[in-house]
Amino acid sequence: MFSRAYRLAVSLPPVLWVGMFLLVPYALLFCYSFWTVSAQQAIVHSWMLDNYRQLVRVNIYWQTLLRSMWIAARVMVFSLLLAFPLAYFLSFHATRRKDLFYQLAIIPLWVSYLVRAYAWKTILGSDGVLNTLLQYAHLTTHPLAFLLYSPFAVVLTLTHIYTPFTFLPVYSALERIPRNLVEASHDLGASQWQTFWRVIFPLSLPGVLAGATFAFVLALGDFLAPLLLGGPSGIMISNIVVSLFGAAYNWPLGSAISFCMLLLVLTLLFFSEKLEKRWSVQ
């Protein structure tokens, strides 16, 4: 069909791109994860599993990883709880203002991530909007400390930031459900509620899964929100990686953590894709 020269010309740029900017860095990362840093702060090109051993032995690493997963899981659940009803309402009940609502739902994506994180900082801080309001209403006498610099602040901010990413796949899954299936369900005697649980929800599962995967994976690797709002108790695994590559100057250990994260995420994506294929009907 197409000439060899044409196919080469079309496929070469993406292949080069993927090679240069993805495969080569990953390979470098993989190599680094076996190397060590000498007492003189020089990289020693030795092939050892010391870094990986350290990950298991030193509590802070795997504990932070577990905490990051726990934060990501909460973000995932809350984004779904927010995104699903919104997507359902938009897809099935917002007849006239559908486009407007849709734009409103995804408009936060147009605002810089940093701005949104800072916005929460001003809301949650001890002199922030929320605390001032609570004190003004005499609900508290002192500013509530747990609002900012806590896992709570991280979960809240990340949920706000990643809900549109959960909303989009859920919404498109709901939009793909043929409306005559809903009519058929009513026709066969099922009420609104029964129709939702027996037809709409099962058919939306691939989108729910995709949305959940987005929220979990993006939240898991996030480092800005914990940096700005997390405080000492809200540190996530990426913050450790950042400091290892920066001030601590331990690229090999940082690489080992990154590589573990990469494997974790790839495994998650693999199973999520498998499940999604099984749930989506031909």
């Binding site: 043929p178 005559n180 299936l181 009519e183 058929a184 369900s185 009513h186 026709d187 066969l188 005697g189 099922a190 009420s191 029964q194 027996r198 037809v199 099962p202 058919l203 749930w279 009907v281 031909q282």
Partner: protein, 362 residues
């Protein structure tokens, strides 16, 4: 227009007390556009009624109003004397076979058919026995475990039918269920559907745009046009006694003879015959099969005319001959395939076969 023609013109079927379903003065508009105007008809217990019409005639909207997916602006629906229009779709003792089947893609054939029974909370043993019975009735028992995506269109059609009938509705609505099938399968399904309907004894309302399908299957045909009931009658009657020019042309082939009656004589171009209709402009419908080549023996009271065969269109068992009459008008006649015919011939028809129809061309 002759006033005496009125009795043969489409009458809203009287809502009889024994009727299963009665529609009274149903009207519906979408925005400014009226899609149904003042529809009144009734369906008897065990009747096969076909709603026939072109696309845009409102036939699907009418079906959706009966099913409960749309709400009529005015008018009422009665089932066995009780109001149906105030019930939501899921409370109506009515089931639908959708145009594109609308099978649940995430459920197996068995689960699809069991859906209505599960929702009605029947016992497991009863569900199993009724689903199996329904599936074997439509010859799909072997596919119980298949997903709808893995069976053919004809098979999906049967499953959709089983899924509706398993609930034992009092009335089954079918929205062009055969339109997606190819011609052979379609003819076969027409026969099966008809015998199935006789077997289960449930009233069917069948929507189609195919007049042949309507004639083959129905007890009565309701012809819709621009959201209005043009005529409602048994297939033989609607074919042989069309009330309007539209009906005559939509159902089967016909010749429309426009002319006038004066002093007991009908005159259409050069054709003249005695008639009992009062004076005035008139249109007659004359079916092609009622014209024939004039025999050696003069038929009693036949109208004869001379014409020339312009064209013979092969239709399998018969041909349609285009005859140009001496006055220039062209008539269609159904002729034999083997018949040898000279170019100029005498033709004839019986005046009884020229049916006066109301002019409904617009």
């Amino acid at each position: 227009m002759a006033t005496t023609l009125e009795p043969t013109i489409a009458q809203p079927a009287k809502p009889t007390s024994g009727a299963l379903l009665t529609l009274r003065n149903i009207a519906k508009s979408f925005g400014q556009k009226p899609v149904l105007r003042d529809i009144s008809l009734s369906v008897a217990e065990g009747e096969f009624l076909t709603i026939l019409g072109e696309s845009g005639s409102g036939k699907t909207t009418l079906l959706r109003i009966i099913a409960g997916f749309e709400r009529a602006d005015t008018g009422e629906l009665l089932m066995a004397g009780a109001r149906l229009d105030q019930l939501p779709a899921y409370r109506r003792p009515v089931n639908t076979v959708f145009q594109h089947y609308a099978l649940f893609p995430h459920l197996s054939v068995f689960e699809n058919v069991a859906y209505g029974l599960k929702v009605a909370r029947l016992t497991k043993t009863e569900i199993v026995s009724r689903v199996e019975e329904a599936l074997s009735m439509v010859k799909m028992a072997a596919y119980a475990a298949s997903k709808p995506g893995n069976i053919s269109g004809g098979q999906q059609q049967r499953v959709a039918l089983a899924r509706a009938l398993v609930n034992r509705p009092r009335l089954l609505l079918l929205d062009e269920p055969l339109s997606a099938l190819d011609a052979n399968l379609r003819r076969q399904m027409q026969m099966e559907l008809k015998s199935l309907q006789r077997e289960v004894g449930i009233s069917f309302i069948f929507v189609t745009h195919d007049q042949e399908e309507a004639m083959v299957m129905s007890d009565r045909i309701a012809l819709l046009r621009f959201g209005q009931l043009e005529q409602i009658a048994a297939p033989r009657e609607i074919y042989s006694q069309p009330a309007t020019t539209y009906t005559a042309q939509f159902i089967g082939l016909t010749n429309l003879l426009r002319g006038e009656v004066k002093g007991g004589m009908a005159r259409c171009n050069s054709l003249v015959w005695p008639t009992e209709f009062p004076d005035g402009a008139v249109v007659f419908s004359l079916r092609p099969e009622n014209i024939r080549v004039a025999g050696v023996t003069e038929g009693d009271g036949m109208v004869t005319f001379r014409g020339r065969i312009q064209n013979r269109v092969f239709h399998g068992p018969t041909e349609i001959w285009q005859i140009q009459c001496m006055d220039g008008s062209v008539l269609s006649m159904r002729g034999g395939v083997r018949e040898e015919a000279a170019h100029d011939l005498d033709f004839e028809f019986s005046p009884q076969d020229a049916i006066p129809v109301r002019d409904s061309t617009s």
